[in-house]
């Protein structure tokens, strides 16, 4: 463990919206009680103005940094960004990360037990939106004694939450840091999500969502969904660099349908490791939430959406990201600029596609560090 790691951390839980005070969702349905799994790092200062909220992407969770036990081989999903002396410096800042509602990593979602029936919700769980996720996070943030966040930051679906935060709760967000994100998925993005969902529907074990954890689960469908999605997170260049046409432990083609190429083996591994840590119904819900997110539809136009934001923005995209391309970030920047908001934008050079935001990058780390320096100054 590095000396600038946050070390051993634990996931905590916060429950609210106990009936009859359920949380009202965008769909009009009610949900309660709602539990949020979260982790915090560093200390909230006396004036409570050093809090940073990190929002996670599709398959992320509250465990953004540190280790749950000494035996953990890997740290949290953005470990290199959070810790003493790291960009989200835990000597200075109080860092919060929570699992989204609708998730399967400790927050209330389709795998949770419905208190009314004593059984898992499965598909009876109401469809939640990015707005609902953020609304629930707001309850957590207030519960932790924070009235105004120094920064809300996140990549991909996390970036959608950042935009939502800045727009819905302008007085609670001092700065916003959306990374590799969009104000709405394009048809291509929705299409990939739909193929992923179809892979799950097509798995016989899915049973219209009514599988339970101890029975057979739609692992094959979820695995295929992940394999497809994983391709969209890489770039042609990075796949070529990493695998090329190299064969897997053989010199010549097998002339059968076993694994021939390295890239096949890699994707299968990605699919297989994903099914150990993720739930198929949850995958349906979260991709749906991403598909529904559309600030233009909600506000008439993107310019209108950002009219009342008060946060200073640092918008970052990555040059080889074709799933959430730079043009999408620039639309956000344009809308902020038209509204005369304080915005900085950079397209960071990287060959690693959409996944780049999860990888170490000196440009990203330096800009985030410096941007926060002035935000907190």
């Amino acid at each position: 463990m590095d000396k600038d790691s946050v070390g051993i951390v634990e996931t905590k839980y916060f429950t609210f919206a106990e009936p009859p005070n359920e949380m009202l969702l965008e769909s009009g349905e009610k949900l309660g009680p709602v539990t949020i799994a979260y982790e915090t790092y560093g200390e909230l200062n006396f004036s409570a103005d050093n809090a940073i909220l990190i929002t996670h992407a599709l398959s992320g969770d509250a465990h953004v940094a540190g280790f749950h036990s000494k035996n953990d081989r890997k740290g949290g999903w953005w470990d290199f960004m959070v810790g003493p002396g790291r960009p989200f410096d835990t000597n200075k800042y109080f860092v919060i990360c929570s699992n989204v509602i609708g998730g399967c990593k400790g927050s209330t979602g389709p795998t949770s037990v419905n208190p009314k029936t004593g059984k898992p919700y499965n598909l009876s769980f109401p469809v939640v939106t990015i707005g609902d996720m953020v609304k629930a996070q707001k309850e957590l943030v207030l519960h932790l004694g924070v009235k105004k966040l120094l920064t809300v930051v996140g990549g991909s679906m996390g970036g959608m939450q950042v935009l939502e935060w800045a727009i819905k709760y302008p007085d609670m967000v001092a700065t916003a840091l959306p990374v590799a994100t969009t104000s709405r998925l394009n048809a291509q993005g929705i299409a990939f999500d739909e193929v992923g969902r179809q892979a799950i529907y097509a798995d016989a074990h899915w049973q219209k969502g009514n599988y339970s954890e101890n029975e057979l689960v739609p692992a094959q469908g979820l695995s295929v969904a992940r394999m497809l999605a994983h391709i969209t997170y890489l770039s042609e260049e990075s796949m070529h660099e990493k695998f090329g046409r190299r064969l897997r432990e053989k010199e010549r083609y097998g002339f059968d349908f076993s694994t021939d190429f390295e890239v096949e083996s890699y994707l299968r591994y990605q699919g297989e490791s994903f099914i150990k840590r993720f739930d198929a119904n949850t995958y349906l819900y979260i991709t749906k939430a991403m598909d529904y997110f559309d600030l233009c539809r909600d506000f008439g136009s993107l310019e209108n959406a950002f009219k009342d934001v008060r946060a200073k923005f640092l918008v970052l995209s990555f040059s080889s990201d074709w799933l959430f391309p730079t043009a999408h970030s620039k639309e956000i920047v344009r809308a902020l600029m038209v509204n005369r908001k304080d915005v900085t934008f950079c397209e960071i050079p990287s060959p690693y596609g959409h996944d780049a935001f999860l990888l170490r990058n000196e440009y990203m780390e330096k800009m985030v560090t410096d941007f926060l320096f002035y935000a907190y100054d």
Partner: protein, 206 residues
């Protein structure tokens, strides 16, 4: 570590800064490492941002706390609404843009006043290099070879002023510099020959 203050600044940037009124809104096109904007924010309480294409320069701006948008100004400028700024600045950059005449008009569409600083290709040392050696001139401020220069639209003070005229733009003021100093009598008498750099304050003719 980030830093807020800056001691030394290019003379033309210093002179441009002196022209800007307090509390105004400023757009700095091709803002480089953000030195001018930093000065304007610190000393004149200016609001605004820079536009810059080079990622290393973006990093320097963020390090100074200067808001900046990474974009190609030829493509980006069209997105600003009319009259968004009091001043639009283009310092030693006009020679590198794709369509200088369009940039000038756009500057005065999105801003009230334009401030352009220009490297004068009519400067006597440049002329004499071409005249004597018969080769494309290279100077301290224009150090590139003809084949790798980003400066695709080099111009003289005279050329610039006739373009302004053609585009219905008035030059409100002209400051001539030579060898990094404000020009004296001779330079102001024949700037196109003696000034290596000039600053123009431009506005639309009404």
């Amino acid at each position: 570590m980030p830093y807020r203050t800056l001691k030394q600044i290019r003379l033309d940037l210093q002179l441009i800064a002196d022209l800007i009124k307090d509390d105004s809104r400023v757009l700095d096109l091709g803002c480089g490492t953000g030195d001018l904007l930093l000065k304007l924010v610190n000393e004149k309480n200016v609001r605004g941002h820079g536009v810059e294409i080079d990622v290393k320069n973006i990093l320097s701006c963020v390090e100074k706390g200067v808001p900046v948008i990474q974009a190609d100004m030829d493509a980006w400028l069209g997105d600003y609404p009319d009259n968004s700024f009091d001043y639009v600045i283009l310092s030693q950059t006009l020679q590198a843009v794709k369509k200088p005449h369009i940039i000038l008009n756009e500057m005065l569409r999105v801003g009230q006043t334009g401030i352009v600083s220009l490297l004068n290709f009519g400067y006597w040392k440049v002329r004499s290099q071409l005249f004597l050696s018969g080769k494309m001139p290279r100077t301290k401020t224009l150090p590139y070879e003809w084949y790798n220069t980003p400066n695709i639209h080099l111009t003289t003070i005279k050329d610039f002023k006739s373009l302004c005229d053609k585009q219905n733009i008035t030059v409100k003021r002209q400051i001539n510099l030579t060898q990094s100093r404000k020009g004296g009598f001779l330079v102001n008498l024949r700037p196109n020959f003696f000034a290596n750099l000039a600053i123009f304050i431009i506005e639309n003719k009404h």
